[in-house]
Assembly symmetry: C2
Homo-oligomer: 143 residues x 2
């Protein structure tokens, strides 16, 4: 009867995603952003190379026109800038501005303070992170 556990997990995953979003709603609104634009901002890690639009569509599970739309709003808000990838002039990379870096850090910090997941203790979080990582990469290097 693993079916019952599986359904419970999928439902809990959905519910917790919604609850985290609900609690983050006023945080992102305070920065004049929406959930969609905040997720895009979150997806740009300032410690890695600026991602191309294609990479961003994969991270956000959306298509190119959608990302173009969302990116435009971040540009207008002064949080990111578009730049042409010198290695392939067709490709545009999304670069965080100083304010973008600051706003991103604030949104992430406040979201993590409010998410229901924060109720778990360190050991539980580590175990949960381990299990979720396994789901994300099930092969584990196997055949």
């Amino acid at each position: 009867m693993g079916q019952t556990d599986l359904e419970a997990v999928v439902r809990a995953n959905h519910e917790l995603f919604m609850r985290t979003g609900d609690r983050a709603a006023d945080v992102v609104a305070r920065h004049r952003l929406t959930l969609a634009t905040a997720q895009a901002l979150w997806a740009i890690d300032p410690e890695e190379a600026p991602p191309s639009m294609t990479v961003m569509t994969e991270r956000l599970h959306c298509n190119a026109p959608n990302l173009s739309f969302v990116t435009k709003q971040l540009v207008e808000r002064g949080l990111v800038e578009r730049a042409t990838d010198p290695h392939d002039r067709r490709s545009r990379v999304v670069v965080l501005t100083d304010e973008g870096r600051r706003v991103r850090a604030e949104i992430i910090a406040e979201t993590l303070e409010r998410t229901p997941f924060a109720a778990l203790d360190g050991a539980e979080l580590r175990e949960l992170a381990r299990l979720l990582a396994k789901v994300l990469a099930p092969a584990g290097g196997g055949a």
Copy 2:
């Protein structure tokens, strides 16, 4: 540094919700539904008393006008019917039709087949379900 685990958990939760949705997309499309209407259908447990609109808004984390809109589509699709709660004639309950019950079961079954969570074995799923349940109900009867 539990912060790292917490962020990883929130990101993984988001990512897995999106992946589950992506893999369910063609399943719900096959039934002429969208993700929003399918979630509403999922939220109606045929083994419990038919939920009122208010209960449904809580389950779906949406407001009344939105639910009214989604419910209308399920009614037009012949999957649910509206009924007046005899105990409070202001309240409308959402009742699954026979086809609604059948389509709901199919969508859930096929979604659970395809979700990445299905890669876990029984013990892992049970542990994951336990942790997520704890996040959903953190108090545990405490003060």
